[in-house]
Every structure is written in C-alpha cells, then in structure tokens.
Amino acid sequence: MRFILVDRILELVPGKAIRAEKLVAADEDYFSDHFPGFPVVPGVLQIEMMAQAAGKCLDAEDPARGKAMLARIVSASFRGWVKPGSTCRIFAEVKSSRPKFATVEACIEVEGSRVSDAELFFTFIPLQQFAPGYRDEVLESFLSGRP
C-alpha cells in the first residue's frame, strides 16, 4: 500500500494555507475490514490526509528548515462518514510557523460538508535524515505547474 494521501494540490500559499484533494478509491484494501458491509475511511487516515497536506504547505515555505512531521494531534473530530469513491477536499491553515515548530488547523470536506477537522502540531526533521534524492512529487508537480 502506498501512503500518499494527497493526490493533488489545488491552491497553495506557502507557509499560510493549502487546498488539496484526495479521491478515495472504491476498492481500497482497508474497506474490507473497516467495516464489512459498512465501508468508511478510518479517522486516522483522514488525520494523515490533513497532516500530509499541511506538511506540504510548511515544506513549501522554507525547505531548508527540514521536512514538516506530525508530532502531536492536539484535537480531532469526525463529523461524517467518508464512503468509498468520495473526493475529499482538504484544507489547512497555518496558525503559527516557527523555526522549530508549527501549528495548523485543518479540515476535510466531502461534497461541501465538513467530515473532519483537526488541530495539528508539527516539528521539522533535517532533510539529511531522508533517503538521498527523496522528493515530494505532489508538491513538486504543483510548484512546477504540471497537472
């Protein structure tokens, strides 16, 4: 299973806000277990969608600071079911962004209705920690203007 939970960025103001999208495939493996006869996207994956989108917003602000990593879920609420085949619109707004940490408020909407929201806390990991040549293809694709 790949763990890329943002398909594409729709709008990005580095270090300030991001709007992104994830289409949940109808045949994701986890639907067979979560839950039989009642398939819904797990809340933890919704958190990860928000964290990945917010991380791209922070990474675009100052790549030299390191890669933004989710360090703490300050709060999270799940307000609606996300069914197979849904298109998740992911929004994140950076509340504070400092050299060592950042805080973000994020939410997901499906068909115009909010299904989850969270307040997330990020720290930054030096890029040297990652595999040589590691790149964020989704972010790079947006920044280069490619579809």
Binding site: A71, R72, K95, S96, R98, K100, F101, T103, F121, T123
Partner: protein
C-alpha cells in the same frame, strides 16, 4: 492571571492533574515535559502570551518555577 491560574495553565498544557503541579515541581516529574513537551510549551507561550523564548532558555527550564519566572518576566502573572 495570578499564580494559581498559571499553575493550572501549566497542568493543562502537560495534561497532569492541577494538584500535581507546584512551583518546585521538577521537569523530570512531568512525563509530558520531554523534548516534544519543550516545543509544545514554546508554542503555547508564543500563541497564548506572545512570549517567544530562545531554544537555550527553553532547554534551561528545569522546574515549574522556571516557567513561572518566564511568565512573570513578561508581565503575564499579576
């Protein structure tokens, strides 16, 4: 805020019972005051009181009294 309110704020931040937080409580007695806790404290001081200590100042804090001193120094405690 007064000192009692400041102690309650610190307890809430580190998710411990208020009665477990006193000025002489040491950092090692607060499980959540680890490396992530330092950043959490730093963010809370910044966002709630506009206080932005240096990383060195943050690392040198070893007791609740040290946090109270920072709040005092910045006029946050009456």
């Amino acid at each position: 805020m007064n000192q009692t309110e400041a102690l309650a704020w610190i307890a809430d931040l580190f998710e411990v019972l208020p009665q477990k937080i006193q000025p002489d409580t040491k950092r090692e007695a607060i499980p959540a005051w680890d490396s992530l806790g330092v950043l959490t404290l730093m963010a809370a001081l910044d966002e709630q009181f506009g206080i932005l200590p240096t990383e060195e100042e943050m690392q040198s804090m070893q007791s609740v009294q040290d946090i109270l001193n920072v709040l005092n120094k910045n006029g946050t405690i009456d």
